[in-house]
Protein backbone atom coordinates (compact mmCIF):
# COMPACT_ATOMS: atom_id res chain seq x y z
CA UNK A 1 0.00 0.00 0.00
CA UNK A 2 1.22 3.46 -0.93
CA UNK A 3 0.25 6.49 1.14
CA UNK A 4 0.94 10.16 0.58
CA UNK A 5 0.20 11.91 3.89
CA UNK A 6 -0.23 15.69 4.25
CA UNK A 7 2.10 16.47 1.37
CA UNK A 8 3.01 20.13 0.92
CA UNK A 9 4.91 21.24 -2.16
CA UNK A 10 5.69 24.76 -3.31
CA UNK A 11 7.61 25.61 -6.46
CA UNK A 12 10.02 28.57 -6.34
CA UNK A 13 9.33 29.40 -2.68
CA UNK A 14 10.05 32.99 -1.67
CA UNK A 15 10.01 34.37 -5.23
CA UNK A 16 7.27 36.16 -7.16
CA UNK A 17 6.76 32.96 -9.14
CA UNK A 18 5.90 31.00 -6.03
CA UNK A 19 3.38 28.33 -6.87
CA UNK A 20 1.64 26.25 -4.27
CA UNK A 21 0.96 22.89 -5.88
CA UNK A 22 0.03 20.61 -2.99
CA UNK A 23 -1.44 21.76 0.29
CA UNK A 24 -2.02 18.93 2.79
CA UNK A 25 -2.45 16.51 -0.10
CA UNK A 26 -3.48 12.96 0.83
CA UNK A 27 -3.64 9.99 -1.49
CA UNK A 28 -3.68 6.24 -0.95
CA UNK A 29 -3.21 3.40 -3.41
CA UNK A 30 -4.08 -0.11 -2.25
CA UNK A 31 -2.22 -3.22 -3.37
CA UNK A 32 -3.49 -4.56 -6.67
CA UNK A 33 -5.12 -1.34 -7.79
CA UNK A 34 -4.68 -0.04 -11.32
CA UNK A 35 -5.29 3.67 -10.93
CA UNK A 36 -5.79 5.93 -13.93
CA UNK A 37 -5.10 9.56 -13.14
CA UNK A 38 -6.44 12.33 -15.37
CA UNK A 39 -6.43 16.10 -15.06
CA UNK A 40 -5.53 19.29 -16.88
CA UNK A 41 -1.99 20.60 -17.27
CA UNK A 42 -0.60 21.83 -13.98
CA UNK A 43 -3.03 19.77 -11.91
CA UNK A 44 -0.16 17.95 -10.21
CA UNK A 45 -0.37 14.51 -11.85
CA UNK A 46 3.23 14.25 -12.95
CA UNK A 47 4.45 16.04 -9.82
CA UNK A 48 2.69 13.37 -7.78
CA UNK A 49 4.56 10.63 -9.68
CA UNK A 50 7.83 12.50 -9.24
CA UNK A 51 7.19 12.78 -5.50
CA UNK A 52 6.47 9.05 -5.24
CA UNK A 53 9.65 8.19 -7.19
CA UNK A 54 11.78 10.69 -5.29
CA UNK A 55 12.61 12.73 -8.38
CA UNK A 56 11.52 15.91 -6.59
CA UNK A 57 11.60 16.53 -2.82
CA UNK A 58 8.55 17.50 -0.76
CA UNK A 59 8.44 20.50 1.60
CA UNK A 60 6.66 18.51 4.28
CA UNK A 61 4.53 15.40 4.63
CA UNK A 62 5.20 11.69 4.46
CA UNK A 63 5.42 9.04 1.79
CA UNK A 64 4.72 5.54 3.12
CA UNK A 65 5.05 2.21 1.37
CA UNK A 66 3.47 -0.59 3.41
CA UNK A 67 3.62 1.75 6.43
CA UNK A 68 7.36 2.24 5.94
CA UNK A 69 8.43 5.87 5.69
CA UNK A 70 10.46 6.44 2.50
CA UNK A 71 10.24 10.24 2.43
CA UNK A 72 13.97 10.65 3.02
CA UNK A 73 15.06 7.81 0.73
CA UNK A 74 17.10 8.70 -2.35
CA UNK A 75 15.43 8.29 -5.75
CA UNK A 76 17.59 5.39 -6.92
CA UNK A 77 16.98 3.41 -3.71
CA UNK A 78 13.20 3.81 -4.02
CA UNK A 79 13.28 2.85 -7.66
CA UNK A 80 14.75 -0.56 -6.82
CA UNK A 81 11.12 -1.51 -6.13
CA UNK A 82 9.42 0.72 -8.68
CA UNK A 83 9.14 0.34 -12.44
CA UNK A 84 8.62 3.52 -14.39
CA UNK A 85 7.79 4.25 -18.01
CA UNK A 86 8.08 7.82 -19.25
CA UNK A 87 6.27 9.82 -21.89
CA UNK A 88 9.51 10.10 -23.88
CA UNK A 89 10.26 6.63 -25.33
CA UNK A 90 13.99 7.51 -25.26
CA UNK A 91 14.00 7.67 -21.47
CA UNK A 92 13.23 4.04 -20.80
CA UNK A 93 15.96 2.47 -22.93
CA UNK A 94 19.62 2.98 -23.86
CA UNK A 95 19.81 4.03 -27.52
CA UNK A 96 23.41 2.99 -28.22
CA UNK A 97 22.95 -0.49 -26.74
CA UNK A 98 21.29 -3.41 -28.48
CA UNK A 99 17.90 -4.89 -27.54
CA UNK A 100 19.70 -7.86 -25.99
CA UNK A 101 21.98 -5.60 -23.95
CA UNK A 102 19.07 -3.43 -22.85
CA UNK A 103 17.05 -6.42 -21.70
CA UNK A 104 20.09 -7.92 -19.95
CA UNK A 105 20.77 -4.74 -18.00
CA UNK A 106 17.10 -4.50 -16.98
CA UNK A 107 17.02 -8.17 -16.03
CA UNK A 108 19.81 -7.55 -13.53
CA UNK A 109 17.88 -4.88 -11.60
CA UNK A 110 18.03 -5.52 -7.87
CA UNK A 111 21.19 -7.62 -8.22
CA UNK A 112 24.71 -6.23 -8.04
CA UNK A 113 26.20 -4.75 -11.23
CA UNK A 114 29.58 -6.41 -10.81
CA UNK A 115 32.24 -7.74 -13.17
CA UNK A 116 30.11 -10.67 -14.29
CA UNK A 117 29.26 -10.88 -17.98
CA UNK A 118 26.79 -8.20 -19.03
CA UNK A 119 24.88 -10.49 -21.37
CA UNK A 120 23.74 -13.85 -20.09
CA UNK A 121 23.52 -15.92 -23.29
CA UNK A 122 21.36 -18.53 -21.58
CA UNK A 123 18.60 -15.95 -21.07
CA UNK A 124 18.49 -14.82 -24.71
CA UNK A 125 15.78 -17.30 -25.66
CA UNK A 126 13.54 -16.22 -22.79
CA UNK A 127 13.97 -12.58 -23.83
CA UNK A 128 12.83 -13.59 -27.31
CA UNK A 129 9.78 -15.26 -25.78
CA UNK A 130 8.93 -12.01 -23.98
CA UNK A 131 9.22 -9.99 -27.20
CA UNK A 132 7.30 -12.40 -29.45
CA UNK A 133 3.76 -11.60 -28.20
CA UNK A 134 4.31 -7.92 -28.99
CA UNK A 135 4.12 -8.78 -32.72
CA UNK A 136 6.58 -6.00 -33.49
CA UNK A 137 9.25 -8.33 -34.85
CA UNK A 138 11.67 -7.29 -32.11
CA UNK A 139 12.54 -10.92 -31.31
CA UNK A 140 14.49 -11.07 -34.58
CA UNK A 141 16.35 -7.83 -33.89
CA UNK A 142 18.18 -8.74 -30.69
CA UNK A 143 21.46 -7.32 -32.00
CA UNK A 144 19.98 -4.06 -33.27
CA UNK A 145 20.71 -0.80 -31.48
CA UNK A 146 17.61 0.49 -29.72
CA UNK A 147 18.26 4.00 -31.04
CA UNK A 148 17.26 2.85 -34.51
CA UNK A 149 13.84 1.54 -33.40
CA UNK A 150 10.61 3.51 -33.71
CA UNK A 151 9.05 5.27 -30.73
CA UNK A 152 6.39 2.58 -30.33
CA UNK A 153 8.93 -0.25 -30.45
CA UNK A 154 11.09 1.54 -27.90
CA UNK A 155 8.14 2.18 -25.61
CA UNK A 156 7.08 -1.48 -25.78
CA UNK A 157 10.63 -2.46 -24.89
CA UNK A 158 10.73 0.14 -22.09
CA UNK A 159 7.52 -1.30 -20.64
CA UNK A 160 8.91 -4.84 -20.74
CA UNK A 161 12.17 -3.69 -19.17
CA UNK A 162 10.39 -1.81 -16.38
CA UNK A 163 8.40 -4.90 -15.43
CA UNK A 164 10.99 -7.66 -15.96
CA UNK A 165 12.01 -7.92 -12.32
CA UNK A 166 9.66 -8.08 -9.32
CA UNK A 167 8.47 -4.58 -8.44
CA UNK A 168 5.99 -3.17 -5.90
CA UNK A 169 4.68 -0.43 -8.19
CA UNK A 170 4.45 0.37 -11.85
CA UNK A 171 4.42 4.09 -12.62
CA UNK A 172 3.24 5.10 -16.09
CA UNK A 173 3.80 8.75 -16.87
CA UNK A 174 1.67 9.56 -19.96
CA UNK A 175 3.44 6.66 -21.60
CA UNK A 176 1.29 6.66 -24.72
CA UNK A 177 1.22 10.43 -25.25
CA UNK A 178 4.14 10.58 -27.69
CA UNK A 179 2.87 7.74 -29.90
CA UNK A 180 0.57 7.66 -32.90
CA UNK A 181 -3.01 6.50 -32.11
CA UNK A 182 -2.52 2.96 -33.43
CA UNK A 183 0.75 2.38 -31.62
CA UNK A 184 -0.70 3.96 -28.49
CA UNK A 185 -3.50 1.39 -28.66
CA UNK A 186 -1.00 -1.49 -28.92
CA UNK A 187 1.05 -0.17 -25.99
CA UNK A 188 -2.11 0.28 -23.91
CA UNK A 189 -3.20 -3.31 -24.56
CA UNK A 190 0.29 -4.52 -23.70
CA UNK A 191 0.17 -2.48 -20.50
CA UNK A 192 -3.14 -4.00 -19.50
CA UNK A 193 -1.83 -7.52 -20.14
CA UNK A 194 1.40 -6.95 -18.20
CA UNK A 195 -0.47 -5.46 -15.25
CA UNK A 196 -2.88 -8.41 -15.16
CA UNK A 197 -0.16 -11.03 -15.55
CA UNK A 198 2.18 -9.57 -12.96
CA UNK A 199 -0.66 -8.36 -10.70
CA UNK A 200 1.41 -5.26 -10.09
CA UNK A 201 -0.05 -2.17 -8.43
CA UNK A 202 -0.12 0.52 -11.10
CA UNK A 203 -0.55 4.27 -11.29
CA UNK A 204 -1.09 5.57 -14.80
CA UNK A 205 -1.22 9.25 -15.64
CA UNK A 206 -2.88 9.88 -18.99
CA UNK A 207 -4.43 12.64 -21.06
CA UNK A 208 -6.50 10.13 -22.91
CA UNK A 209 -9.83 10.06 -21.06
CA UNK A 210 -10.98 6.99 -22.97
CA UNK A 211 -7.98 4.97 -21.77
CA UNK A 212 -8.64 6.16 -18.24
CA UNK A 213 -12.21 4.92 -18.46
CA UNK A 214 -11.51 1.67 -20.33
CA UNK A 215 -8.50 0.46 -18.39
CA UNK A 216 -7.83 0.04 -14.71
CA UNK A 217 -10.08 -0.45 -11.72
CA UNK A 218 -9.90 3.04 -10.25
CA UNK A 219 -10.22 6.48 -11.82
CA UNK A 220 -8.92 9.66 -10.26
CA UNK A 221 -9.26 13.20 -11.56
CA UNK A 222 -6.96 15.87 -10.23
CA UNK A 223 -7.34 19.62 -10.38
CA UNK A 224 -5.05 22.27 -8.92
CA UNK A 225 -3.36 19.86 -6.57
CA UNK A 226 -6.53 18.17 -5.32
CA UNK A 227 -8.34 14.96 -6.10
CA UNK A 228 -11.77 16.09 -7.30
CA UNK A 229 -13.08 12.73 -8.44
CA UNK A 230 -12.22 9.26 -7.22
CA UNK A 231 -14.16 6.21 -8.36
CA UNK A 232 -13.25 2.59 -7.92
CA UNK A 233 -14.78 -0.87 -8.24
CA UNK A 234 -18.30 -1.01 -9.67
CA UNK A 235 -18.60 2.76 -9.58
CA UNK A 236 -15.57 2.98 -11.84
CA UNK A 237 -16.88 0.27 -14.14
CA UNK A 238 -20.07 2.27 -14.69
CA UNK A 239 -18.27 5.48 -15.63
CA UNK A 240 -18.71 6.68 -19.21
CA UNK A 241 -16.15 8.69 -21.16
CA UNK A 242 -18.74 11.43 -21.87
CA UNK A 243 -19.39 11.86 -18.18
CA UNK A 244 -15.69 12.37 -17.41
CA UNK A 245 -15.34 14.63 -20.42
CA UNK A 246 -18.20 16.77 -19.04
CA UNK A 247 -16.54 17.20 -15.67
CA UNK A 248 -13.21 17.82 -17.32
CA UNK A 249 -14.63 20.57 -19.52
CA UNK A 250 -16.32 22.21 -16.55
CA UNK A 251 -13.12 22.53 -14.52
CA UNK A 252 -11.20 23.66 -17.59
CA UNK A 253 -13.73 26.44 -18.22
CA UNK A 254 -13.41 27.60 -14.62
CA UNK A 255 -9.70 27.88 -15.19
CA UNK A 256 -10.27 29.90 -18.32
CA UNK A 257 -8.59 27.37 -20.58
Amino acid sequence: MLQLVNINKNYNPGSVNELCLFKDFNFTVKDGEFVSVVGSNGSGKTSMLNIICGSIPVDSGKILINDRDITKQKDFIRQKHIGRVYQDPAKGTCPSMTILENMSIADNKGKPYNLGRGVNKARTESYREMLRPLNLGLEDKMGVQVGSLSGGQRQALALLMATMTPIDFLILDEHTAALDPKTAEIIMELTDRVVREKKVTTIMVTHNLRYAVEYGNRLVMMHEGNVILDKSGEEKAAVKTEEIMGIFNKISVECGN
Binding site: M97, S104, I105, N108, Y113, G118
Partner: protein, 291 residues
Protein backbone atom coordinates in the same frame (compact mmCIF):
# COMPACT_ATOMS: atom_id res chain seq x y z
CA UNK B 1 62.64 4.54 -40.23
CA UNK B 2 63.50 6.18 -36.93
CA UNK B 3 60.76 8.72 -37.57
CA UNK B 4 58.20 5.99 -38.32
CA UNK B 5 59.19 4.09 -35.22
CA UNK B 6 58.89 7.21 -33.10
CA UNK B 7 55.42 7.95 -34.56
CA UNK B 8 54.26 4.40 -33.80
CA UNK B 9 55.68 4.50 -30.27
CA UNK B 10 54.18 7.84 -29.39
CA UNK B 11 50.96 7.03 -31.20
CA UNK B 12 50.44 3.93 -29.11
CA UNK B 13 51.45 5.64 -25.86
CA UNK B 14 48.98 8.43 -26.56
CA UNK B 15 46.55 5.74 -27.69
CA UNK B 16 46.21 4.68 -24.06
CA UNK B 17 45.46 8.31 -23.17
CA UNK B 18 42.92 8.35 -26.00
CA UNK B 19 41.20 5.27 -24.52
CA UNK B 20 40.72 7.28 -21.33
CA UNK B 21 39.42 10.31 -23.23
CA UNK B 22 37.13 7.98 -25.18
CA UNK B 23 35.49 6.89 -21.91
CA UNK B 24 34.84 10.43 -20.72
CA UNK B 25 34.10 12.18 -24.01
CA UNK B 26 32.24 9.52 -25.98
CA UNK B 27 30.74 7.28 -23.33
CA UNK B 28 30.10 9.60 -20.38
CA UNK B 29 29.63 12.73 -22.53
CA UNK B 30 31.86 14.51 -20.01
CA UNK B 31 34.47 16.95 -21.37
CA UNK B 32 37.16 16.05 -18.85
CA UNK B 33 40.02 18.55 -18.71
CA UNK B 34 41.54 16.70 -15.75
CA UNK B 35 43.53 14.86 -18.44
CA UNK B 36 45.92 17.82 -18.76
CA UNK B 37 46.83 17.22 -15.12
CA UNK B 38 46.57 13.45 -14.82
CA UNK B 39 48.84 12.75 -17.82
CA UNK B 40 51.85 14.53 -16.25
CA UNK B 41 50.76 13.16 -12.86
CA UNK B 42 51.46 9.64 -14.13
CA UNK B 43 54.83 10.86 -15.42
CA UNK B 44 55.64 12.61 -12.13
CA UNK B 45 54.83 9.50 -10.09
CA UNK B 46 57.05 7.50 -12.43
CA UNK B 47 60.17 9.67 -12.15
CA UNK B 48 59.65 9.94 -8.40
CA UNK B 49 59.50 6.14 -8.05
CA UNK B 50 62.45 5.55 -10.36
CA UNK B 51 64.85 8.34 -9.43
CA UNK B 52 63.99 9.08 -5.79
CA UNK B 53 62.90 5.68 -4.54
CA UNK B 54 64.86 3.49 -6.93
CA UNK B 55 61.96 1.04 -7.23
CA UNK B 56 61.71 -1.56 -10.02
CA UNK B 57 60.28 0.27 -13.08
CA UNK B 58 57.54 -2.34 -13.65
CA UNK B 59 55.86 -1.07 -10.46
CA UNK B 60 55.40 2.38 -11.98
CA UNK B 61 52.68 1.02 -14.29
CA UNK B 62 50.12 -0.10 -11.68
CA UNK B 63 50.98 2.74 -9.27
CA UNK B 64 50.53 5.40 -11.96
CA UNK B 65 47.21 3.83 -12.99
CA UNK B 66 45.99 3.86 -9.39
CA UNK B 67 47.25 7.43 -8.91
CA UNK B 68 45.34 8.55 -11.98
CA UNK B 69 42.26 6.63 -10.85
CA UNK B 70 42.38 8.51 -7.54
CA UNK B 71 42.55 11.82 -9.44
CA UNK B 72 39.52 10.74 -11.49
CA UNK B 73 37.63 9.96 -8.30
CA UNK B 74 38.40 13.49 -7.04
CA UNK B 75 37.07 15.05 -10.27
CA UNK B 76 34.00 12.83 -9.97
CA UNK B 77 33.38 13.77 -6.35
CA UNK B 78 33.68 17.49 -7.16
CA UNK B 79 31.20 17.07 -10.01
CA UNK B 80 28.75 14.66 -8.38
CA UNK B 81 28.81 15.53 -4.70
CA UNK B 82 29.60 19.25 -4.83
CA UNK B 83 27.51 19.66 -8.00
CA UNK B 84 30.16 21.63 -9.91
CA UNK B 85 29.71 21.65 -13.70
CA UNK B 86 31.68 19.00 -15.60
CA UNK B 87 34.00 21.42 -17.41
CA UNK B 88 34.75 23.38 -14.23
CA UNK B 89 35.43 20.23 -12.18
CA UNK B 90 38.12 19.30 -14.69
CA UNK B 91 39.61 22.80 -14.77
CA UNK B 92 39.85 22.90 -10.97
CA UNK B 93 41.63 19.53 -10.88
CA UNK B 94 43.90 20.35 -13.80
CA UNK B 95 45.02 23.63 -12.23
CA UNK B 96 45.58 22.14 -8.81
CA UNK B 97 47.47 19.19 -10.25
CA UNK B 98 50.07 21.50 -11.80
CA UNK B 99 51.41 22.20 -8.31
CA UNK B 100 50.98 18.62 -7.14
CA UNK B 101 52.95 17.40 -10.16
CA UNK B 102 55.82 19.80 -9.39
CA UNK B 103 55.85 18.56 -5.80
CA UNK B 104 55.78 14.89 -6.74
CA UNK B 105 58.44 15.16 -9.45
CA UNK B 106 60.56 17.60 -7.43
CA UNK B 107 60.91 20.16 -10.20
CA UNK B 108 59.63 21.09 -13.66
CA UNK B 109 62.24 18.95 -15.40
CA UNK B 110 63.55 15.64 -14.05
CA UNK B 111 65.76 13.45 -16.26
CA UNK B 112 66.00 9.69 -15.73
CA UNK B 113 68.76 9.00 -18.23
CA UNK B 114 70.84 6.67 -16.11
CA UNK B 115 68.11 4.83 -14.28
CA UNK B 116 66.37 1.62 -15.22
CA UNK B 117 63.04 1.96 -17.04
CA UNK B 118 60.43 -0.48 -18.30
CA UNK B 119 62.34 -0.43 -21.60
CA UNK B 120 65.78 -0.83 -20.14
CA UNK B 121 66.19 -3.25 -17.26
CA UNK B 122 67.79 -6.62 -16.60
CA UNK B 123 64.69 -8.66 -17.41
CA UNK B 124 63.91 -6.95 -20.70
CA UNK B 125 67.56 -7.04 -21.79
CA UNK B 126 67.67 -10.76 -21.04
CA UNK B 127 64.38 -11.69 -22.72
CA UNK B 128 64.57 -9.62 -25.90
CA UNK B 129 67.38 -10.84 -28.18
CA UNK B 130 70.05 -8.33 -29.14
CA UNK B 131 69.09 -8.17 -32.86
CA UNK B 132 65.72 -6.77 -31.77
CA UNK B 133 67.32 -4.20 -29.48
CA UNK B 134 66.20 -1.33 -31.68
CA UNK B 135 62.61 -2.56 -31.48
CA UNK B 136 62.63 -3.14 -27.73
CA UNK B 137 60.62 -0.04 -26.94
CA UNK B 138 57.96 -0.56 -29.57
CA UNK B 139 57.48 -4.21 -28.58
CA UNK B 140 56.94 -3.30 -24.95
CA UNK B 141 54.66 -0.39 -25.79
CA UNK B 142 52.63 -2.62 -28.11
CA UNK B 143 52.20 -5.22 -25.37
CA UNK B 144 51.10 -2.69 -22.74
CA UNK B 145 48.74 -0.91 -25.14
CA UNK B 146 47.13 -4.19 -26.20
CA UNK B 147 46.70 -5.29 -22.58
CA UNK B 148 45.07 -1.94 -21.76
CA UNK B 149 42.79 -2.21 -24.79
CA UNK B 150 41.68 -5.78 -24.10
CA UNK B 151 41.10 -5.06 -20.41
CA UNK B 152 38.92 -2.10 -21.36
CA UNK B 153 37.03 -4.19 -23.95
CA UNK B 154 36.45 -6.83 -21.32
CA UNK B 155 35.28 -4.29 -18.74
CA UNK B 156 32.81 -2.75 -21.17
CA UNK B 157 31.19 -6.16 -21.61
CA UNK B 158 30.60 -6.69 -17.89
CA UNK B 159 27.49 -5.67 -15.96
CA UNK B 160 29.40 -2.76 -14.44
CA UNK B 161 30.59 -1.71 -17.90
CA UNK B 162 27.00 -1.87 -19.20
CA UNK B 163 26.01 0.64 -16.53
CA UNK B 164 28.83 2.93 -17.63
CA UNK B 165 27.53 2.83 -21.19
CA UNK B 166 23.98 3.37 -19.96
CA UNK B 167 24.80 6.41 -17.83
CA UNK B 168 26.23 8.33 -20.79
CA UNK B 169 23.38 7.22 -23.01
CA UNK B 170 20.46 7.98 -20.73
CA UNK B 171 21.15 8.51 -17.05
CA UNK B 172 17.44 8.33 -16.18
CA UNK B 173 17.50 4.60 -16.80
CA UNK B 174 20.39 4.08 -14.38
CA UNK B 175 18.24 5.61 -11.64
CA UNK B 176 15.33 3.43 -12.81
CA UNK B 177 17.57 0.39 -12.37
CA UNK B 178 18.03 1.34 -8.72
CA UNK B 179 21.65 2.41 -9.13
CA UNK B 180 23.28 5.69 -8.07
CA UNK B 181 24.19 7.36 -11.37
CA UNK B 182 26.70 9.61 -9.60
CA UNK B 183 28.66 6.57 -8.49
CA UNK B 184 28.74 5.20 -12.03
CA UNK B 185 30.12 8.50 -13.32
CA UNK B 186 32.82 8.48 -10.65
CA UNK B 187 33.83 4.94 -11.62
CA UNK B 188 34.03 6.00 -15.28
CA UNK B 189 36.15 9.05 -14.50
CA UNK B 190 38.48 7.01 -12.35
CA UNK B 191 39.12 4.35 -15.03
CA UNK B 192 39.58 7.09 -17.64
CA UNK B 193 42.13 9.05 -15.63
CA UNK B 194 43.86 5.84 -14.58
CA UNK B 195 44.48 5.10 -18.26
CA UNK B 196 45.63 8.66 -18.88
CA UNK B 197 48.15 8.50 -16.01
CA UNK B 198 49.36 5.10 -17.26
CA UNK B 199 49.97 6.74 -20.63
CA UNK B 200 51.95 9.52 -18.88
CA UNK B 201 53.97 6.90 -17.02
CA UNK B 202 55.06 5.18 -20.24
CA UNK B 203 55.67 8.51 -21.96
CA UNK B 204 58.09 9.66 -19.24
CA UNK B 205 60.07 6.45 -19.57
CA UNK B 206 60.14 6.65 -23.37
CA UNK B 207 61.36 10.25 -23.18
CA UNK B 208 63.61 9.39 -20.20
CA UNK B 209 62.47 12.54 -18.45
CA UNK B 210 59.57 14.34 -16.80
CA UNK B 211 58.59 17.74 -18.10
CA UNK B 212 55.80 19.75 -16.53
CA UNK B 213 54.73 21.09 -19.93
CA UNK B 214 53.75 17.67 -21.33
CA UNK B 215 50.31 18.12 -19.79
CA UNK B 216 49.47 21.20 -21.83
CA UNK B 217 47.15 20.17 -24.62
CA UNK B 218 47.11 16.48 -23.66
CA UNK B 219 43.31 16.48 -23.71
CA UNK B 220 43.32 17.98 -27.22
CA UNK B 221 45.58 15.18 -28.47
CA UNK B 222 43.25 12.66 -26.84
CA UNK B 223 40.13 14.23 -28.32
CA UNK B 224 41.66 14.48 -31.78
CA UNK B 225 42.63 10.79 -31.64
CA UNK B 226 39.18 9.74 -30.51
CA UNK B 227 37.44 11.79 -33.19
CA UNK B 228 39.79 10.64 -35.98
CA UNK B 229 39.43 7.03 -34.87
CA UNK B 230 35.69 6.96 -34.36
CA UNK B 231 34.75 8.89 -37.50
CA UNK B 232 37.26 7.28 -39.84
CA UNK B 233 36.34 3.72 -38.91
CA UNK B 234 32.65 4.30 -38.23
CA UNK B 235 31.58 1.91 -40.95
CA UNK B 236 34.01 -0.87 -40.03
CA UNK B 237 32.05 -3.06 -37.69
CA UNK B 238 34.81 -5.64 -37.43
CA UNK B 239 37.14 -3.13 -35.82
CA UNK B 240 36.46 -2.53 -32.15
CA UNK B 241 36.03 1.11 -31.25
CA UNK B 242 38.96 0.85 -28.81
CA UNK B 243 41.22 -0.25 -31.68
CA UNK B 244 39.96 2.61 -33.86
CA UNK B 245 40.82 5.08 -31.12
CA UNK B 246 44.39 3.77 -30.84
CA UNK B 247 44.81 3.86 -34.62
CA UNK B 248 43.38 7.39 -34.54
CA UNK B 249 46.09 8.35 -32.10
CA UNK B 250 48.84 6.91 -34.33
CA UNK B 251 47.42 8.76 -37.35
CA UNK B 252 47.29 11.96 -35.37
CA UNK B 253 50.90 11.63 -34.24
CA UNK B 254 51.76 10.90 -37.87
CA UNK B 255 50.12 14.16 -38.97
CA UNK B 256 52.05 16.14 -36.39
CA UNK B 257 55.30 14.40 -37.37
CA UNK B 258 54.66 15.23 -41.02
CA UNK B 259 54.14 18.87 -40.13
CA UNK B 260 57.43 18.86 -38.22
CA UNK B 261 59.14 17.02 -41.06
CA UNK B 262 57.92 19.70 -43.45
CA UNK B 263 60.00 22.15 -41.47
CA UNK B 264 57.54 23.85 -39.18
CA UNK B 265 59.14 25.69 -36.26
CA UNK B 266 59.19 23.33 -33.22
CA UNK B 267 57.91 26.22 -31.11
CA UNK B 268 54.76 26.16 -33.21
CA UNK B 269 53.84 22.61 -32.21
CA UNK B 270 50.91 23.59 -29.96
CA UNK B 271 49.55 25.87 -32.66
CA UNK B 272 49.85 23.04 -35.17
CA UNK B 273 48.09 20.78 -32.67
CA UNK B 274 45.14 23.08 -32.21
CA UNK B 275 44.75 23.94 -35.90
CA UNK B 276 44.94 20.25 -36.76
CA UNK B 277 42.28 19.55 -34.12
CA UNK B 278 40.03 22.24 -35.58
CA UNK B 279 40.42 20.78 -39.07
CA UNK B 280 39.60 17.30 -37.77
CA UNK B 281 36.53 18.60 -35.94
CA UNK B 282 35.24 20.38 -39.03
CA UNK B 283 35.86 17.42 -41.34
CA UNK B 284 34.35 14.84 -38.97
CA UNK B 285 31.30 17.03 -38.25
CA UNK B 286 31.65 16.11 -34.59
CA UNK B 287 31.06 19.69 -33.51
CA UNK B 288 27.63 19.09 -32.14
CA UNK B 289 26.26 15.85 -30.81
CA UNK B 290 23.43 14.69 -33.01
CA UNK B 291 20.94 12.34 -31.49
Amino acid sequence: MALLLSVLEQGMIYGILALGVYITYKILDFPDLTVDGSFPFGAAITVFMISKLGLPPILTLPVSFLGGALIGICTGLIHVKLKVRDLLSGIIMMTGLYTINLWVAGSGYVPIFNQKTIFDNDLVNAVIPSFLANYKRIIIILVITMVAKYLLDWYMSTKSGFLLRAVGDNDTIVTSLGVDKGLVKIVGLSIANGLVALSGCIYAQQQRSFEISIGTGAVVIGLASVIIGTSLFKKMTLLRVTSSVIIGSILYKGCVALAMFAGIDPNAIKLVTSVLFLIILVISMDRKKVD
